[in-house]
């Protein structure tokens, strides 16, 4: 069966520090991969999605970047975090017309 792992679960970082969030999927090949951010009490904002290794589509200009070094690995990064980067970050995968499957999320607090 397919599983998705996302870590860390929680993270507290100072303003201006770097960021690396990782997401891996098991049990499927060539999935579409997605990074979302959710502010408290709000909906989902799509940040990046990828249909293959090295293929990243950015939806929102910002100080974040994404990479897909392997088929089932998706990384979200930042060189310098801003206060506005706080939120709940969700990774998801999908194949074909099936619904997205979400990881457990990373709760990021910027101090």
């Amino acid at each position: 069966s397919q599983t998705i792992h996302q870590w860390p679960a929680t993270l507290v970082q100072p303003v201006g520090s770097p960021l690396s969030l990782e997401c891996t999927v098991e049990g499927t090949s060539n999935p579409n991969l997605y990074w979302y951010r959710q502010a408290a009490g709000r909906g989902l904002q799509l940040l990046f999605y990828s249909v293959g290794i090295g293929q990243i589509s950015s939806e929102v200009p910002q100080n974040l970047s994404a990479s897909r070094p392997q088929d089932r690995q998706f990384i979200l990064s930042s060189k310098k975090l801003l206060l506005s980067d706080s939120g709940f970050y969700l990774c998801a995968w999908s194949v074909g017309g099936q619904p997205q499957h979400f990881g457990d999320g990373t709760r990021l607090s910027i101090l």
Partner: protein, 113 residues
């Protein structure tokens, strides 16, 4: 640009009552999804609706899709407290880079005893 709207955004209802959540979207799509999110948790897939007239039911929830009206509904029958959560609809679109999903803002449901 595809836009997805939901109403109501907040819903407080008593146990045992029925209610419907509406999801409207702005451009043609034949794939619509409903998700549930519990507070502080991730999203869980509820329904996949793949064609006009599709109806899916699970327990006290029933979802339907009208692609001509660009409308999906999530009907709640005889609500119970365990249904309290935020419900999102999402519409799939095809882009140059593959399939993308656009989410509605969510409907926060509170079922009161």
């Amino acid at each position: 640009e595809l836009k997805v709207e939901q109403n109501p955004l907040f819903l407080s209802m008593q146990e045992g009552k029925n209610y419907t959540i509406y999801c409207n979207y702005s451009t043609t799509s034949d794939r619509l999804y409903w998700y549930r999110q519990d507070p502080g948790k991730s999203l869980e897939s509820l329904f996949v609706l793949l064609s006009n007239g599709a109806v899916k039911q699970e327990g006290r929830l029933m979802a339907s899709l009208d692609t001509k009206a660009r409308l999906s509904t999530l009907h709640i029958t005889a609500a119970v407290h365990d249904l309290s959560a935020t419900y999102f609809c999402a519409v799939a679109t095809l882009t140059t880079y593959g399939q993308n999903f656009v989410f509605g803002p969510g409907t926060r449901l509170s079922v009161l005893p």
